[in-house]
């Protein structure tokens, strides 16, 4: 016999972003810390309400920019002045001015790669499955539902207590989901 599946957390389903935000603030006040919200579009101020740290993506992109710039300078200098110096119209083998366009382009290119793949990586994607997809109403999250999950690993979590707490904050639907 299969083992009884463990519980990932309790889903509370709201019909508006305002109700979701109120529930998040109340849950934080009540001492819950392990929670995640699922919404059809980004909600202003939700990170502050949940106490989430700002995204580190910007710093990663900065590294990408520096790398792109360095590659462009090195590439143009090494190919033009070291590996195969060729006199063309009496121009210097390497100079900064004609190198600017490619320095700019490679800086942007590498930054964009880091921004996109960094975002995907920080979000843990691509991923085949996640407990939220065990929630019977998960399909409406990308439509018009605003969902708060309080995870079972939270110290304050208590199947009935948490359920009553979230019901009191206007959840239309409550459901325990498997991990």
């Amino acid at each position: 016999m299969a083992e009884k599946p463990s519980i990932h957390g309790l889903v509370a389903d709201f019909d508006s972003p305002d109700k979701l935000m109120d529930a998040i603030r109340a849950a934080r006040k009540a001492g819950y810390s392990k929670m995640e919200a699922y919404t059809p579009f980004p909600i202003h101020g939700i990170d502050d309400a949940m106490g989430a740290k700002p995204s580190i993506l910007g710093y990663l992109v900065l590294c990408g920019s520096a790398t792109g710039m360095a590659i462009a300078v090195w590439l143009q200098w090494w190919t033009g002045a070291v590996a195969y110096p060729l006199v063309i119209a009496g121009k210097p083998f390497f100079a900064l001015e004609p190198s600017i366009p490619i320095i700019f382009e490679l800086t942007v290119l590498l930054s964009a790669f880091v921004a996109v793949f960094g975002m995907i990586g920080l979000n843990g994607l691509p991923r085949l499955h996640h407990p939220i997809f065990n929630y019977s109403g998960h399909r409406a999250i990308t439509d018009d539902r605003f969902v708060l999950v309080i995870e079972a690993s939270d110290r304050e979590f208590d199947a009935t207590g948490t359920r009553d707490f979230l019901a009191a904050h206007g959840a239309d639907k409550l459901e325990l989901i498997e991990a």
Binding site: Y38, S55, P101, F104, E105, A112, G118, L122, R127, H138
Partner: protein
């Protein structure tokens, strides 16, 4: 009471601005998703049959070109660049409006961009795909086009000339294509997840499931997503300006009269935005009618785009005038010859004055509100503008090249049927990609429109309070 009228005006503008009425979030999902979910209409197959046949002509012409050589085109001394570079610049310019809408208007917080950005970005990608064909095949031996990139290979025992603007162009255009595709895809991920969650067939579930990467819309996802989107917008803004600047360097860095001028970068960028917006209007007028999204893409959107066309068209006209002034004021006889003889009165005068009529005169009608809000009128003007912008590139290329310093090196460019059919074929490719896009992908950015609705709702709420306050309803306690 200035404050009162401002608050009221803002409220009126914000509440119905995006959608005209008060549709719910679900209405937006429904309106956009249904386009791709209904059974494929017979007309779609007809459209695809037509556009893919035209693409087939492009394929045949390119095969003929590759098998025979560049001689099948009309390019010949002294006009070494003909329709190939004209069409390349034409298509790449059209792409620019998409990036302007998706990135620059995003940074300027222009809310009206939200309903049209997905469509405009698609246009960017498809236009760049058409543009990219030309530099690749015009090199003569296209199977060695990869020599343009700094890849070590066993045949070419040397490196590319990084001091040449033509190589800058390779980097600019390939970076632009790559970054535009990435930006577009990032915007698509949440909407692909919406499609996945609504999928009723196994095929759609798997396809959209893979494409949306397992997106689940968590607050953490959105946090990184919004950051990435902002950074990409910030990167794309200078990038789009750099692309047409570098395309203009192809001309401006040479020392040919008519090309060797510092006005080229801003003049090219303005022209690119001008033609791109015209193309968005052309396509949008058709698409909102076919797909019944008039409540999402409203007259306000179209009118705003027409205003941009008016502004950039006027800038372009100013640039034309400046070129003539500089040619005269510089006292350079060769420069004057190009403008006063070759362009205005010479053998290409017909092309020059077509360009002026289409680009400078036709957008001026948009000063009148009645005309810029008329669908048939804007449709016609948007097509005229693109004809004019094609002529601009042709005029720049042909008039500077056709008369060299020695009259023995004079010529006149005549396109061959291969030139004409290849260009015609690129429209087939452009439209075929659009036909696929409108069938399989969300043509309006669903999550962005919803986010904007929520934001407008909030602002309307605050403005209600502002209106109430300025109407003299004193706060409690201050009344007596």
């Amino acid at each position: 009471m200035a404050e009162l009228s401002h608050a009221q005006e803002m409220k009126e503008r914000l509440t119905p601005s995006l959608t005209g009425g008060h549709p719910s979030f679900h209405d937006v999902t429904e309106a956009v998703s249904i386009i791709s979910e209904v059974k494929t209409h017979r007309n779609w197959y007809i459209a695809l049959a037509i556009t893919s046949s035209i693409t087939g002509i492009l394929g045949l012409m390119l095969a003929y070109l590759v098998a025979t050589g560049i001689g099948v085109w009309g390019n010949n001394g002294p006009v070494g660049w003909g329709w190939d570079i004209t069409n390349f610049v034409f298509w790449i310019g059209i792409g620019h409006a998409g990036t302007l809408i998706s990135a620059i208007l995003f940074l300027f917080r222009q809310k009206w961009r939200t309903s049209i950005n997905r469509f405009a970005e698609a246009m960017t990608l498809f236009a760049v795909a058409c543009a990219g064909i030309y530099p690749a095949v015009h090199v003569g031996r296209p199977w060695r086009a990869y020599w343009l990139f700094p890849m070590p290979n066993e045949f070419l025992n040397m490196w590319q000339n990084f001091r040449s603007p033509l190589l800058w162009d390779v980097f600019a255009v390939s970076t632009y294509a790559t970054v535009s595709a990435l930006f577009w895809y990032v915007g698509l991920i949440p909407d692909l997840a919406t499609f996945r969650d609504r999928a009723t067939t196994k095929g759609r579930q798997i396809a959209y499931g893979i494409a949306s990467l397992g997106w689940r819309g968590s607050a953490t996802h959105w946090k990184n997503y919004e950051k990435a989107y902002m950074i990409l917008a910030g990167l794309s803004t200078p990038l789009v300006l750099s692309v047409h600047t570098i395309v203009s360097f192809d001309f401006a860095v040479s020392i040919l009269p008519g090309w060797h001028t510092t006005i080229f970068p801003p003049y090219f960028v303005a022209g690119a935005i001008f033609s791109g917006f015209a193309m968005v209007v052309t396509l949008m007028v058709i698409a909102r009618w076919i797909y019944k999204v008039e409540h999402l893409v409203t007259m306000t959107h179209l009118e705003n785009m027409n205003k941009v066309i008016l502004a950039t068209g006027t800038i372009v006209g100013y640039a034309y005038a400046t070129e003539f002034f500089t040619a005269w004021y510089s006292g350079n006889p060769y420069e004057s010859y190009v403008f006063f003889v070759s362009r205005a009165t010479g053998p290409y005068a017909w092309a020059y004055w077509s360009m002026i009529s289409c680009n400078v005169i036709s957008p001026q009608f948009f000063w009148f509100k009645k005309l810029r809000t008329s669908l048939p009128f804007m449709f016609v003007i948007s097509i005229i503008v693109n004809i004019g912008m094609w002529f601009e590139r042709f005029v720049i290329i042909a008039t500077s090249l056709h008369r060299d310093y020695l009259p023995s090196s004079w010529g006149y460019f005549r396109p061959t049927f291969v030139d004409v059919l290849t260009f015609f074929g690129t429209f087939g490719l452009f439209l075929t990609l659009f036909v696929f896009f409108t069938r399989f992908l969300p043509i309006i950015a669903i999550s962005e429109v919803k986010g904007m609705m929520a934001q407008n709702h909030h602002e309307a709420h605050y403005l209600d309070e502002a209106v109430a306050a300025s109407e003299g309803k004193q706060p409690v306690g201050a009344a007596h």
